[in-house]
């Protein structure tokens, strides 16, 4: 692969959405750039669900290939491009965890420790990620326990609503309404604390 001395400037130059538009035209370099921006978060969530490096890598790869194939269907008015990528990787990770039935052997874990920061990341990236992590954890901590449990087990654990109803021994309808109430409340809490991001983090390098 050709070494790319321009990567840094390029990242500043184009928005995530513009990169997806280039990916839709078969531009591999743009796919690489998108990976450089979102890859670490995508890997973070995949690893959180799968607890296995190989499987997490598979989920990230499948997700980015889904980006590659379906970039032409991306609609900027539906979601931010980075959100769209994370959504595709999350979906793959959930598919894999359900197929592998991995976590059934493990006890339910609600507040597992978060991974250590990446020593190779830039100070700016680390500061931003640290800030975001704090903000999200603080908001999650403010949710009623039952709601937090429902959305954490779903999003971080990959459990479906019916699996949760069974595991927790509560009616399916209760799980559904907890998830909605929890997510709606979390959204409010995050909206209240959102600050403008003044730089574009470089999340992998």
């Amino acid at each position: 692969m050709r070494q790319d001395p321009w990567a840094l400037r390029r990242q500043r130059h184009l928005s995530d959405e513009a990169l997806v538009a280039l990916v839709a035209r078969g531009d591999e370099t743009a796919l690489g750039e998108l990976y450089d921006r979102v890859g670490r978060i995508a890997y973070g969530i995949a690893y959180r669900i799968l607890r296995d490096e190989r499987l997490a890598e598979d989920a990230v790869q499948d997700g980015f290939l889904a980006v590659w194939r379906s970039a032409a269907t991306f609609r900027a008015e539906r979601a931010k491009a980075s959100t769209w990528v994370v959504t595709l990787v999350h979906r793959r990770a959930v598919d894999i965890v359900r197929r592998e039935e991995r976590r059934r052997a493990e006890p339910l874990e609600l507040t597992a420790g978060y991974d250590a920061p990446d020593p190779a990341g830039s100070a700016e990236d680390e500061a931003w990620l640290g800030f975001e992590r704090e903000r999200v954890l603080r908001a999650l901590a403010m949710l009623p326990d039952a709601q937090r449990e429902a959305i954490e087990l779903a999003y971080y654990g990959g459990y479906s609503q019916s699996e949760l109803a069974e595991t927790l021994g509560v009616p399916l309808g209760t799980i559904k309404s907890r998830m909605f109430a929890g997510l709606a409340r979390l959204r409010e809490l995050l909206d209240e604390t959102e600050t403008e991001r003044t730089w574009t983090p470089r999340l992998t390098s």
Binding site: A7, S15, A21, G39, G44, Y47, A154, Q161, S162, S177
Partner: protein, 236 residues
């Protein structure tokens, strides 16, 4: 939307639905703008949850693996099949183009706050045109016979030249774009180069059979090219 619909969208955003419910959620999203709006907001929330998990970086091999796999799949991604295209074209009309423009404008130029207002306006206009062309699924990609990159042309002839890693123009010089349709090249804009990935809207339109060329000229541009082209597209 009723309570059940709200719950369906929340479950969808968390990837927690059974296959049946998932199908129902998709159907709901097809027909309800309100549901799509709610999913958009919930997706930003779940993406924030994902950001909180970012820790150690993946192994560097993963990047190469992904790009290799994409390369192996090759160009299937470029040719939208006819059915998809006919569905996409109306859907990706004015609204999508505008949204893409806004996103592109913010992302591209949000950082250059120090540039003066006129520059920012020109830059915004520039990125709007580029986004509209690049996000049009009906636009064609035309290869270059000289230079590294591609030309993307919409049906009406609106075009954007995408150049990979072109050097900055030498001091006192500029890159000048030309549309060659017949004998006389027509001026089609100036750009400095050196942005890493230069995305340059072509002024005017590019008719079928015409070519887009780039030459190095003195600052301010000239009326007719004085040097050999450093970039030349195939005929459109």
């Amino acid at each position: 939307m009723d309570a059940e619909a709200h719950e369906l969208i929340a479950g969808y955003a968390l990837d927690a639905l059974s296959p049946d419910d998932r199908a129902r959620a998709k159907e709901l999203l097809e027909r309800s703008e309100e549901a799509r709006e709610e999913l958009r907001a919930f997706s930003e929330t779940t993406a924030a949850m994902a950001t909180a998990t970012a820790g150690a970086a993946p192994r560097p091999e993963l990047r190469a693996r992904i790009l290799d796999a994409a390369r192996t799949e090759g160009q299937t991604v470029v040719s939208l099949d006819a059915k998809r295209r006919s569905r996409l074209v109306p859907a990706l009309g004015a609204a999508a183009a505008l949204a893409a423009c806004a996103a592109l404008a913010l992302g591209v130029w949000g950082l250059s706050v120090s540039s003066d207002l006129d520059d920012s306006r020109a830059a915004l206009e520039h990125s709007r045109t580029a986004a509209a062309v690049l996000s049009d699924p009906a636009a064609r990609t035309v290869a270059l016979q000289e230079g590294d990159g591609r030309l993307v042309v919409r049906e009406g002839g609106e075009a954007v030249l995408v150049l990979d890693a072109i050097e900055p123009a030498p001091a006192g010089k500029t890159y000048e774009l030309w549309v060659l349709d017949g004998e006389t090249p027509k001026r089609a804009g100036l750009f400095p180069g050196g942005e890493g990935r230069d995305v340059v809207p072509v002024e005017g339109t590019v008719a079928p059979g015409a070519q887009v060329l780039v030459t190095v000229e003195r600052e301010g541009g000239v009326d007719a090219p004085t040097t050999a082209p450093v970039v030349a597209s195939q005929p459109v």
